[in-house]
Symmetry: C2
Subunit: 506 residues, 2 copies
Amino acid sequence: MEFSEHIKTANVEDVVLRERQRPPSRGTLCVTGHHLLFSDREEDSSRQLLLLLRNIDAIEKSVENLSGYSGFFSKAGHGERMSGSSGTITIKCKDMRVIQFDIPGMEQCLNIAHSIEHKKWRLSSVNRDYSVCPSYPPAVIVPSSIGDDVLIKAAKFRQGGRFPVLCYYHRKNGMVIVRSSQPLTGANRKRCSEDELLLQAVIEGSDKGYIIDMRSSQQAQQAWMTGGGFESKSCYERWKRLHRHMERGKVLQESLIKLVEACSDESHNMDRWLSKLENSKWLSHVQTALSTAGLLAECVERDGHSALVHGYEGTDCSLLISTLAQLIVDPSCRSLEGFLALLEREWLQGGHPFQQRCAHSAFSHARLQQESPVFLLLLDSVWQLWRQFPLALGFSEVLLLRLATEAYASDYGTFLCNNDQERCAAGVKDRTHCLFQSLLKPTERDYYSNPLYEPTELAIWPSVHPQSLQLWKGFFLRWTEQARLLEEVQEEIRNMVIKWGKLALS
Amino acid sequence: MEFSEHIKTANVEDVVLRERQRPPSRGTLCVTGHHLLFSDREEDSSRQLLLLLRNIDAIEKSVENLSGYSGFFSKAGHGERMSGSSGTITIKCKDMRVIQFDIPGMEQCLNIAHSIEHKKWRLSSVNRDYSVCPSYPPAVIVPSSIGDDVLIKAAKFRQGGRFPVLCYYHRKNGMVIVRSSQPLTGANRKRCSEDELLLQAVIEGSDKGYIIDMRSSQQAQQAWMTGGGFESKSCYERWKRLHRHMERGKVLQESLIKLVEACSDESHNMDRWLSKLENSKWLSHVQTALSTAGLLAECVERDGHSALVHGYEGTDCSLLISTLAQLIVDPSCRSLEGFLALLEREWLQGGHPFQQRCAHSAFSHARLQQESPVFLLLLDSVWQLWRQFPLALGFSEVLLLRLATEAYASDYGTFLCNNDQERCAAGVKDRTHCLFQSLLKPTERDYYSNPLYEPTELAIWPSVHPQSLQLWKGFFLRWTEQARLLEEVQEEIRNMVIKWGKLALS
């Protein structure tokens, strides 16, 4: 149900906007096809709120009597106009903001409430019409010794057709990171010689490769029952399998919900806060993401071997881990452009189903189906890297915050649909603007750059000690007084550094 | 038992120094009367360690056989020289650092281990010979209408003679903060007209004053049994009593021990870390300190009334709360000089028993008597303020770290003894250097200043939401890899800001 389809009252006067840590303000609420617009009446300190309807995660309505009219509402009929009563709509946004409107008059309130619901490698165009793998882009990089006919057969042996493709080539030693989905061995332990050939070609000239399977070995075996499976030692003898269980899907979604609930706990109880933070397990997921990515990076950089990474579908944790590993080992991914290009390759071309995963975030009462904050987990993990290596990354925390917001609700087409095929069919590129291009505009890029950036050629190995990781306050507590204060201060420091930097250079 | 009294072996060659996150280094260990000195043999990357003996909180020794000599030690006699075995001494410092020496040869190992002023107010010199209150300085500020004879009698009615004295005068509205110890009412509900007169004089011209009692009302009543008590409504009718329970003494000490134990947990278990952090309750104590100080500051600044603060002895939490409240309301306390002067007034002149409280920190196996990290709790609370208002305080985190180290073990005389009387008797001022003076030297002060300092005349109200407070990693995790890394980065940022600032001004 689209919000805009149910607009009965487009304009309501005399609405009071309440938001945490700000004085209430009185003005006019207007609902358009895409936005909810509030503007107050004050002449000297005018305030406007423009909220994208897609940013709304949940709406709660309640009708309260004004003090002095106690008990009035319970006796009044549903359709009756009660001038003494006021309704309240609480809007909870996907980016964790919570706003509240006190709306005068029952009817209006109900109406508004209804209104709201290289050499060894080659570029293959085997997937030019998306028929081999619907979630892959038209062009993929594969070993040059492997023909398209082999790819087509190997794709049939991988869930969703996601056959192993190159996602990172390590210039230093020629090793690579390859990703895929699970092999469809099933209970009969099927084999696929083309898949074996393809993986063999990946480690051609090396003694072995590592498979990082993001399931426990028990889970990987249980996958036989549903047609999935893993690369057995006997069929892929030169590959060494490492199992690193990572949570995904609903578990991750519930973790986010618990964390956000903890963050909005207004009680002043320190024990309760720390206990809720622990129970949410969010930081454990961040820790697992960083340590698994660290393992992958170690395989390639320190151990000097190529690696294949997959779990089940290959559209979530595989992308998370390969992205983080690239940030760890490859300096070119750490500039503003490099990071956005990495996201473009791994998440957009790589086929992360943004529409399904980011339909709701933490507040929605909708029955969750495919929602899962994998991309948010990526951004949080990148933030931890950024915090641990404040000079090594070319972008600022503001960029991560912006991306977190845009993934859930956006004016741009970048995060629309679930894969390249869908975006192509919908004409997204022709009909919408690209977020990444906009972020790189000369007027914008200063804002999203890290003024302290000093590129290093070294790998940046994150510490994954529990004591080294911390809550991403900038995101999870962004709508609190504290966060706003810190934001202002950071902005001031940024401006100072930039100003002085320019003066020093001039 | 002094470490230096037991030195049998002053110099040991071929000792291996091990410290977390650093490669081991081999060199010579030397123990002097005050220091433990290690210097390695490497010519190109020479490393020296100079450790003040007073900084040592605990020493653990263990004798391990080298691999290949398994079982040798158990058969060997105590005095026998075992060239194959090596002993290990683990030194745990008061500032949380842990270092380890592998020492060749049993005997050496055992030997080393053995070795190891205003119109309404006047200055009174009633306490010039410390006879009225041993823990007060010779000069105190009291209401000008109160004679020394009244003070002498009031002092007899307060524990340890700590009669109410002025510690802060709020220029904006003439209101004050006064502190004392508990009144000695006892089970017979004794009264003291001089004490009543004195407190009456404090709020002369105002309708009321607040007493912030840092005990629960139950605790305050139980104090009757041991001769203590509180200011009853009937005897002090214009004073409104507010009870805010704060932990102190052993409870605080145990909290620190638990926290430090949690911080040194090397397991990679996120849940365990968060659970231990919660169980230590340290952050709850920080929260209580800041919220009680906030209440005191509100009484004076927002409510416009004077306040008396005390718990039991008036030498611990009273100082903590009055110090924090002054930082909150008074900009002049927030400069580097202002803050050190505040510490001088409240903690040194104010009679915090540093020698008793800071004899050991978190590692010692000694039976704890009077140890309690009240001053560390102050520094942590100031750090939280500093983090929430990064431009408002004129000093840097490095200053807080330095003070935390010096309070436990120092080359200076500043934190010696328990009060001014003791320091005077020991001739501390003549025989030692003053830490605060040294920190203010032109060569040093840059290092301890906040390069981003922009003084504000406004009160700085800290947020005490659990989500707003965080572990003081700079102190509690200072000896980990992460902390070192962050320190280096902060140092680099500092240098950049200073350099640019100078260029911009030139």
